[in-house]
Symmetry: C2
Subunit: 307 residues, 2 copies
């Protein structure tokens, strides 16, 4: 077993996390969060979404957020773009990377956007072309890769099919996303084993949710498959829209603690991330759900320390 | 990679979990919890502690608990015995197995019981002899196997040393316990690789805490080392005495969800365990910290379901 020596951690809290928080988070708070994450050393931060504010009011201030943040040289600031109009916004906001979405589950695609998987990805053709013309990176995210809230089991072949479609669109990076956190390590390895046959391993990422507590075990299993890009959300921002009170995105602090313990380089300062997680949890009045974050904060605040 | 086809899950919530809960839990509630866990199919339940009620008032009703439970044929009901007096209590209570403790950390041993590791284990000689005479199983638990709240790093050789001492005492089973949850998968594998050289793999167990969110990744890593006995606490009962507000024992529901996903046989009904976790959390007015437990309860209570 040889694990990667270094991994890229993509911080998705400011977009994927906050999008699932109920109350509107002020633009200033979003900007401070992103600035703190940049300072902590993240090479890639999913920062905003250029979707219609009618659908996602939480993300209505994407242009202001992107204009207000201090960008660290070399870091990638990604934004979601569902269509050409969103792409225009991303372009004006000087996004480094756009993110497009497709589900590996036909039932999910039909229920969520009322069209087939194939149609949904076809719609991104003009967006991808525009991004290529402007030299902007494209990331494709394959949701429901390990299971679907509507159809349950998702065939590995469906995941491979969506990865191939995203590859054909020219995606620079493709996320295997366990949107509802139902995956376990064996399935995780099976899916990555299959998709690495059709897309370069070093440009595939794992996006895991901790809804059933499996995220870190799945990340470890993915590392064993040579995967070296992982998504995480500071303080575990964002819940599971399919189960009230359940956990959503895996917490960044927990992922960093894992990587540090494995001796895998991330370039990110865990203590600064713990502080950023404490900042945003306090700012929005939400429980910090990172276990490592809570333990390290408790350690700072009391004695005897927990290690 | 070949994982075990079946594992034994030792439910430690009624003892290790409840012992770390602040308010006294009634004897009737403890009995109902154990009965529910027996009905769910656990082959082994850590049920009580025969320590001085002066030191651990929460466990002062061990005799009543053991007398009140309905025992499932073939299941093992374990109790903690710090000394001969405790052993007499265990014997009178018809315990199937006694549990004795030793730390792999010299600093922890000195700080907690004011003697060296070697002395602390020497003190168990008469207890172990008495257990052997009465045909009662002996389990030895090696605390701080992956790290210590006082000395930090714990050498692998220290863990091996304690395992050898427990083996010499005649222990039937030995737990490698990450008392403060600081371990990560590489270290977990290193420790198990070392201890399996001095004690049979099939009689070694992994006792993990989720304080830094690493428990399931560590369990998965231990499975890869062929370990097939794991401890878990329903609803994640018990906190971390070294960090207020932090998580303690890994939640049984999360461990069972992992095993089910890996196709590993446990003989335990996850749904009954989820119900037992809901019962005890409600009964003692404490948040259920099992992620799988919360997700499955949310799924039962609302639609659309999370998978």
């Amino acid at each position: 077993m040889t694990l990667p020596k270094a991994v890229k951690i993509v911080e998705v809290g400011p977009r994927d996390g906050l999008q699932n928080e109920k109350d509107f988070v002020s633009t200033a708070t979003k900007i401070e969060l992103i600035n703190r994450l940049s300072a902590a050393g993240f090479p890639n931060i999913e920062s905003a979404s250029f979707v219609s504010p009618k659908w996602v009011p939480q993300m209505g201030d994407g242009a202001e957020v992107m204009a207000g943040i201090e960008r660290r040289a070399g870091a990638i600031y990604s934004v979601l773009t569902p269509n050409l109009r969103g792409f225009e916004g991303a372009l004006a906001a000087r996004a480094d990377e756009i993110v497009i979405f497709g589900a590996a589950s036909e039932a999910f695609s039909q229920k969520n956007i009322n069209c087939s998987i194939a149609e949904s990805i076809e719609r991104f053709v003009p967006v991808a072309q525009a991004a290529k013309e402007h030299g902007i990176r494209i990331r494709g995210s394959v949701s429901c890769s390990l299971g679907c809230p509507y159809q349950g089991e998702v065939p590995v072949a469906s995941v491979v099919d969506v990865v191939e479609r995203f590859a054909a669109l020219g995606c620079d990076e493709i996320d295997i996303a366990d949107t509802i956190g139902v995956g376990t390590p064996r399935r995780t390895r099976e899916v990555f084993e299959a998709v690495t046959k059709v897309f370069p391993r070093e440009r595939l990422s794992g996006h895991f949710h901790d809804t059933y507590g499996q995220a870190l075990a799945n990340i470890y299993a993915a590392l064993e498959e040579g995967i070296a890009i992982f998504h995480a959300s500071v303080a575990g921002l964002g819940g599971c829209p399919y189960a009230k009170g359940a956990t959503g995105n895996v917490a960044t602090e927990d992922v960093l603690y894992l990587m540090n313990g494995l001796g895998i380089h991330t370039g990110i300062d865990l203590n600064q991330v713990v502080a950023a997680g404490d900042f945003i949890s306090t700012a929005i009045g939400r429980a910090n759900v990172s276990r490592a974050g809570k333990a390290l904060l408790a350690k700072q605040r009391s004695e005897p320390a927990c290690a």
